[in-house]
Amino acid sequence: MKNKVLIVALTVLLVIGIVSCSMDEYAKLGEAMGKMGNNVYGIEPNMQQVNETTKEFDNKVTKNEAGDVEVELVDPADLISSVAEIKNSTKKTEELKKQLDEPLAKDEETAKKVQESLRTKMENIISDTKVEDDVLASADDKVKSAYDSVTNALNDIKDSISENPTKADLAAVSIVNDLANTVKNIAENPDQYNKADGELDTEKIIEDANKALQALDALKVTSTAADLDILKDFNLASLFSSSGSGSKALSDDSSSPKDEDAMRKFMFSAIDSFTKMVSVDGEFDEVKYNRFIFQMRAIRTAYETTAWLVTPSLAKGEDQFAVVDAIIDGKNIIGLDSFSANDLVLYAASVVFTECNKLPVKDGSELSFKDAVKAYMEKDASVLEDEDLAKRFENFEKFFNDVDLSKKDYDVEHLEHSAVTAVNTAAVILVDSGFDLKIIEKAGFKPEDGKSYGEELEKAFENLKNELGKNN
């Protein structure tokens, strides 16, 4: 019995010893534990596959005697399969991103020629993937939507190729070209998803959907813009503490200072992630901004194409909110456990940034979104750096009041349309995400009696629209 008492006492002492450490002692303990994580053999990860993958890009830019530069696309199948293996290793993925972030050109003069060549390449892709009107007329509405989406994307991508394209940009063009060809193939052969007996050929659907999913995965790894981690500092507890019923969270401004602080922290974390991506040494960098928008456009295209491919049987509803309800109610047919909620966030970000980038401004002399971002970053360092979240939030609001973006007559309807499309497609994308509606309800987003989630979403967009346009 004495022995048992002794062992229990030793356990209690061990626990007390651990938890009674000061923060400094914890830090020292953490440091010592971290040192044990260094491999004693000193073996570094094998980067052979990463080097071979990026070396392919070096051979794709050729210059003839006359000084003309020709850029060739990389083989998307090879790239996608290489990336699928590399992405399983954190360190290899980091190295791949680092190497792909290098410019294709060695000097400024060549950089311009590479940009021109890539634009020409995009024009060729646009003409090569064009489907004749009479052929398209026989395709169903959903295929037409997918085709329109890709066509618009190709034009946007062509226009947003940055001044000094990187290997990642070439990867994006190559992957988007592959997706565009898939959509073209479907538009030209609308019957390929039907078996002879008229039933849907689900094997073919899943094959194409998987192909598109792999392309999307590759794009997420190769694009630096995909690293935008909006939810990095999002605190789950702030979600749980926002208790209430109905659409309280959307309509009630009363919340604890702690909740508001958590929200501000989250919001500034997202803003910081974005500003870091479009700056060099804290200064706004136009080339990086353009590249960010270009890559976001490519990512958006991949999501939209994939979304249509994974739900070929989902009828296109006239009321897009009804489609959301249909999906929430579980009326899809294909079970692909391939997306996380983060995909929705990344997709929503890609829509927001690409749409904001071209928000029509009625008065041409006013600030564009790019100008606003630049002005925000150059306005006052304290706007970005103040540690006091409440003060920072105040500065942030003051800045936007000063530049008065809300009075620039942005086309709110246009934004709403984009947002609706984003929600609709994102809902499709989140097939089988398993996200629990109860969690959403905990956030205060619970349909009132007799209303659906679609109707509540519509209301959320009304709020969003009012917020954006209340000073119009």
């Binding site: 491999n39 979600l239 929200m263 579980g330 909620a341 983060n342 989140l430 959320a460 917020e467």
Partner: protein
């Protein structure tokens, strides 16, 4: 502005799906190694080595030839808890403040959720594990061994960064029954040759990957019941069985001071699985009676069958265990020899790659205390144990590789294991 922010948040978390289909879809996770092995504190502390000097209960799954020693062992029960990614948590002052507040009872309502949030963010991209909980009973008497184990493991998969929306938690439950036998083929003062075999009936079940928010909400008092209900009745579950076998042979020389072993582990490790629309449905189907009562109108979906293959490994062990003061034990194992032989033929094979298959460790005993250290594919581990009549407690801390290749993703873990009975 807050409304805009909330709108975006709501949109980011607004969808849930279940498929209206006659057959339950199959969910597989290629990143997860579903091989079942209980957590061995001593073995892990010694750098996952010690095949030739296996503990009594550990020998059921490592080297059953050790049972030929005919030593008595008993676990009534053994309980082990392992937490992963501990170093990042200890290095985070906010996390440790939460832990302290939870222990001294001053934590606020959101402490558990906040801690879970931090643990999720420490997972990194790709595969990781949050925690494992093991419980087992077993007995070794004469040359026989009988045991039963239950293990709950929380695997995680993050595509991209490990934020709350990006991590899926895949809970896995294993229930195993073991019968083991070890025999002396040759037994002289100078030399012993022992062989052993252990057969395990393992029933494995894992749930469809759950978003981190769902898992965290279990920690939230006012939402836990709803989520439990969801996990029980609305979460697709895959379940099935395998009968893996472990074989071992040990050659002992110099009065057991020098031992050489060869083991073949996890032979016949193919699980015959079925898909179920819920954990409750799976349980009712397997048990053959209504353990969980379904709600009115519930109709179970039809199951689909599939297989999960887990690899077998060929391993060699060496131990030097002279019967002198402090009872030192030095071990060195060459693990996964088949994998090494395969890599020998590849162009990328380098001589130093042999080190990647070498685990080594040491143990000394002082009175009732044991101190251990080891190296597992180049990653260090340490451990300590104290055993007094009828009780034993062991603690282990160490690193291991979770990536496909060395250096890809080192992950640390801390195990505390308690045994009521007699085992070493």
């Amino acid at each position: 502005m807050k409304k805009v922010l909330l709108s975006v948040l709501v949109l980011a978390m607004c969808f849930s799906f279940a498929f209206a289909a006659d057959k339950q879809a199959i969910y597989t996770y290629g990143d997860i190694d579903f091989t079942f092995q209980p957590t061995f504190s001593r073995y892990n502390a010694m750098g996952q080595s010690g095949l030739a000097a296996a503990g009594r209960m550990d020998s059921f799954y490592t080297n059953p030839a050790a049972l030929a020693e005919e030593r008595f062992g008993l676990s009534l029960p053994t309980v082990a808890v392992t937490l992963f990614n501990v170093q990042k948590l200890v290095s985070d002052p906010e996390a440790m403040t939460i832990v302290n507040s939870m222990i001294d009872g001053t934590a606020d309502d959101n402490a558990a959720v906040n801690l879970a949030d931090k643990m999720i963010k420490n997972l990194g991209s790709g595969y990781n594990t949050l925690a494992t909980i093991d419980a087992g009973v077993g007995a070794a008497f004469g040359s026989f061994g009988l045991g039963a184990n239950v293990q709950v493991k929380l695997h995680t998969i993050a595509k991209g960064s490990s934020n709350v929306a990006n991590v899926k938690v895949v809970p896995e439950v294993n229930v195993a029954q073991t019968v083991a036998l070890g025999l002396n083929i040759i037994k002289t003062d100078a030399l012993k040759l022992q062989i052993g075999a252990a057969g395990h009936f393992v029933y494995k079940a894992y749930l469809q990957g759950q978003d981190a928010a769902t898992v965290s909400s279990l920690l939230s008092d006012d939402d836990g019941n709803d989520v439990q209900k969801k996990l029980l009745w609305n979460t697709p579950t895959m379940g099935g069985y395998a009968i893996p076998v472990d074989l071992g042979v040990t050659l002992s020389l110099a009065n057991d001071a020098v031992r050489l072993s060869a083991t073949a582990n996890n032979l016949n490790g193919t699980y015959r699985m079925s898909s179920y629309d819920s954990f409750a449905n799976m349980t009712n189907s397997v048990v053959g009676t209504e353990v969980f009562t379904p709600e009115e109108g519930y109709e179970a979906k039809e199951s689909e069958k599939f297989e999960i293959k887990t690899p077998w490994t060929l391993n060699f062990g060496f131990a030097f265990a002279p019967n002198v003061i402090f009872k030192p034990v030095i071990t060195a194992d060459l693990i996964d020899m088949l994998g090494m032989v395969k890599s020998l033929g590849s162009d990328s094979f380098k001589a130093e790659d042999l080190l990647l298959h070498l685990n080594a460790g040491a143990e000394v005993s002082i009175l009732c205390f044991n101190l251990r250290a080891g190296v597992n594919r180049g990653y260090m581990s340490v451990g300590a144990g104290v055993g007094l009549l009828g009780m034993r407690i062991d603690a282990t801390y160490g690193w291991q590789e979770f990536g496909a290749e060395l250096g890809d993703k080192p992950v640390d873990s801390f195990t505390i294991r308690f045994n009521l009975g007699y085992d070493k």
